[in-house]
């Protein structure tokens, strides 16, 4: 090796040593520090001369110190190393006694027959602090997620669950360990494709997609919820998107609604039955008329047949009448049965006259009995409405009954039933000449169990309002001008295309 070159190399070595951000330290076979750079002095908190010539153990915490001589000796004797060429995370000890984490990589070489080791040390204190902060932050986030009541998680573009909070795990009845695909929980009647499409859409742009009212099948239980999807880039450098899912659990809400609906339907049914009970006399009359006529015709027929000279036409006419009256009775029974039965609602397109006439027909004898005059008034060109016949009849029946009840003391009781078209559909109004509605009861009139009658249950108008609103309509009332009774009206949205000419 020639001298000038060695000098240059030594200078270059010195520059490299000083330029390194990591601490570099050279020791001999027994651990004496032969060389170290300024970074080494800085990392360990010494002045460089304090380190040079001293044993490397001064830079180690107590537990490493005891072992170090042993390590060096064993390597010398056996050539077995646990660190050379590998690099390990170990601990160093600063001059002030503080132990800190550091990354140590060791190399070795022979110089003039002497074995030297080079150690490169990177102080991990900051990184460890950073990691700890991250861990704490993650724990905090995790805590937040888990304490959130909204089932929340993170899925990939295929709907595979990456992270789930406790609420989501509990919704899906999984413990978060198994591979879970959101789509596999959707029940058969829910569009699984719609989830896929929404995931695709969400992955394309960081939008919020809402999938309303998905049905899930979890452990044989049906659960329902709205799914909110929002994507975000998972990595700055590629297109990988994570999708945050939030699920608004509506199972309980839907069950409560179903229960409420069932109660309302029961109430409506009970109300219909009580309305029918109130109409018993009228109904008996409705059935008695045709039955009585049939009995009369039949008796007359028998008497006539016993005579010889009965004209065949006369008998034919009698039989025809019997048939017609039987139909008439059957018709009454049919109307009654549909009103009394609790069958599920079926909607059909009906005209105002069908609704009003059918109902008045059922109620006719009651009105006659009470000597109430009824006027009908239809506008021309009324829209058809798509309604449940029985329920709307029930509404009208109720309004008629209320109108009659309001006029019990009225010498000239009269009801006007009118139908007119409105922009939003068909309006049917029942106008009475009764006592009107006082301001004090107007506000509570359609509340369930509120009644102004001595023998009322207070469910009639509440049921009416429920039925009309279920049809997308509206029910309201007002006092007539001059204190002449009140008018109850209800609006039904018009059926698509079609008027009652």
């Amino acid at each position: 090796m020639n001298q000038p070159l060695a000098a240059e190399e030594a200078a270059l070595f010195s520059v490299l040593l000083e330029a390194a951000a990591d601490a570099i330290i050279v020791i001999d076979e027994v651990g004496t520090v032969r060389q170290a750079n300024s970074a080494c002095a800085r990392v360990f908190g010494y002045e460089l001369p304090e380190i040079l010539g001293r044993n490397i153990k001064m830079l180690m915490p107590e537990n490493y110190r005891r072992e170090h001589d042993g390590y060096l000796r064993r390597y010398r004797e056996t050539g077995e190393s646990k660190i050379i060429g590998v690099g390990r995370q170990v601990e160093g000890r600063r001059s002030d006694g503080v132990v800190f984490p550091m990354d140590l990589s060791v190399g070795e070489g022979s110089f003039s027959g002497e074995r030297l080791y080079v150690g490169i040390v990177r102080d991990l204190t900051e990184r460890h602090a950073l990691l700890q902060t991250l861990q704490e932050q993650e724990a905090e986030l995790r805590q937040m997620m888990d304490s959130a009541v909204v089932p929340t998680g993170l899925v990939d573009g295929k709907g595979r669950l990456l992270v789930a909070n406790e609420a989501l795990n509990s919704f899906l009845a999984c413990d978060g360990s198994a591979d879970v695909e959101l789509g596999s929980y959707l029940s058969a009647d829910t569009q699984v494709q719609s989830l896929g499409a929404a995931l695709d859409e969400a992955a394309k742009a960081p939008t919020v997609c809402v999938l309303a009212l998905l049905a899930f099948e979890v452990d044989g239980h049906r659960k329902s919820g709205d799914l909110y999807l929002a994507s975000f880039p998972r990595h700055a450098h590629n297109d990988d998107h994570g999708i945050v899912v939030q699920l608004v659990d509506r199972t309980a809400q839907l069950e409560a609604e179903k229960e409420a609906r069932e109660i309302r339907e029961e109430l409506a049914h009970y109300q219909r039955i009580s309305a029918l009970t109130a109409m018993t006399a009228g109904i008996a009359h409705e059935v008695n008329q045709p039955m009585g006529a049939i009995a009369n015709y039949a008796e007359a027929g028998q008497i006539l047949v016993r005579k010889d000279q009965v004209p065949a036409e006369e008998l034919e006419r009698i039989f025809k009448q019997i048939g017609q009256q039987a139909d008439r009775a059957a018709d009454v029974i049919r109307r009654l049965r549909s009103l009394a039965g609790g069958q599920s609602p079926a909607r059909e397109a009906l005209s105002a006259s069908e609704i009003v006439n059918d109902t008045l027909h059922l109620y006719r004898s009651q009105l006659e009995l009470l000597v109430v005059r009824v006027e009908k008034e239809y506008e021309a060109e009324l829209p058809l409405v798509f309604v449940d016949r029985v329920q709307i009849q029930q509404v009208l029946l109720n309004l008629l009954q209320n109108a009659v009840d309001s006029m019990t003391q009225h010498p000239e009781a009269a009801i006007r039933v009118s139908a007119r078209s409105a922009e939003a559909g068909l309006v049917i109004a029942v106008e009475d000449r009764g006592t009107g509605i006082s301001a004090s009861i107007a506000e509570r009139l359609t509340d369930p169990f509120f009644t102004s009658k001595t023998d009322g249950m207070g469910i009639g108008l509440a049921v009416c309002r429920t039925i009309v609103e279920k049809h997308g309509g509206r029910l309201w009332f007002e006092n007539n001008a001059g204190g002449r009774g009140a008018t109850f009206s209800f609006l039904l949205p018009g059926a698509e295309g079609g008027t009652d000419g």
Binding site: T280, A281, A284, H285, N288, Q289, P290, M291, G292, A293, I294, A295, N296, Y297, A298, E299, A300, G301, I303, L304, I318, Q321, Q324, Q325, R328, E368, L369, V371
Partner: protein
């Protein structure tokens, strides 16, 4: 007119029921005259009409009960059979108190209705017969002179000729003459007969 005596007047607003009643009555050779409401009946009504009335107790407009009242005021004596529905018992009671012949609650047996119609017609017949007799007796009574009527009144009260002669201050002989005129004009065979006729006059 014999036909009029057995006429059944039907007032019922139900077209089919009214028609069936006509057919039923017709099957047993009863003549009917029917009306859809009380107004139509009153429009046609004549006090010459004979027979009975089958009346629906409840009808739109004037009810059966109201029609019964109007007819009573007009002196119509035709017996009324009311047909009532379920729950009309109160009205039926009112009708009976106002002198209705009978009432039937729907549904009823057809033979019951016919029986009651026949009974009502029998009542009408009897009424008519006694009415005729009364008319006859009245017209006989009309023929008596004022003095003969005075004698008639006293005789049917059971006064002997002598008492009559004293009361009226006429001779017994004159009393006997008047008395024989009375017996002749009243077409009475005996004193008992005369007393019976006098009762009809009061009836």
């Amino acid at each position: 007119m014999a036909e009029q005596l057995t006429t059944v007047h039907v007032v019922d607003d139900d077209d089919a029921f009214r028609d069936s009643l006509e057919v039923l009555c017709g099957s047993v050779d009863l003549v009917t005259r029917s009306f859809a409401d009380a107004g139509a009946f009153l429009e046609d009504y004549s006090d010459e009409w004979q027979g009975c009335i089958v009346l629906d107790i409840r009808m739109p407009g004037m009810s059966g009960l109201e029609l019964q009242q109007v007819l009573l005021e007009r002196g119509c004596a035709m017996p009324v059979v009311f047909i009532t529905g379920h729950g009309d018992i109160e009205m039926a009671v009112t009708a009976m108190k106002s002198g209705a012949q009978d009432f039937l609650t729907k549904p009823f047996r057809q033979q019951d209705l016919l029986d009651r119609i026949h009974a009502a017609l029998k009542v009408a017949d009897r009424q008519r017969a006694s009415e005729l007799q009364r008319h006859e007796v009245e017209s006989r009574f009309e023929r008596l002179t004022p003095r003969e009527r005075e004698v008639f009144d006293l005789v049917v009260q059971g006064c002997a000729n002598k008492v009559v002669s004293n009361r009226l201050d006429i001779s017994q002989r004159t009393v006997e003459l008047h008395r024989s005129q009375v017996m002749q004009k009243m077409e009475a065979d005996s004193l008992a007969d005369l007393v019976r006729l006098s009762l009809r006059l009061e009836g």
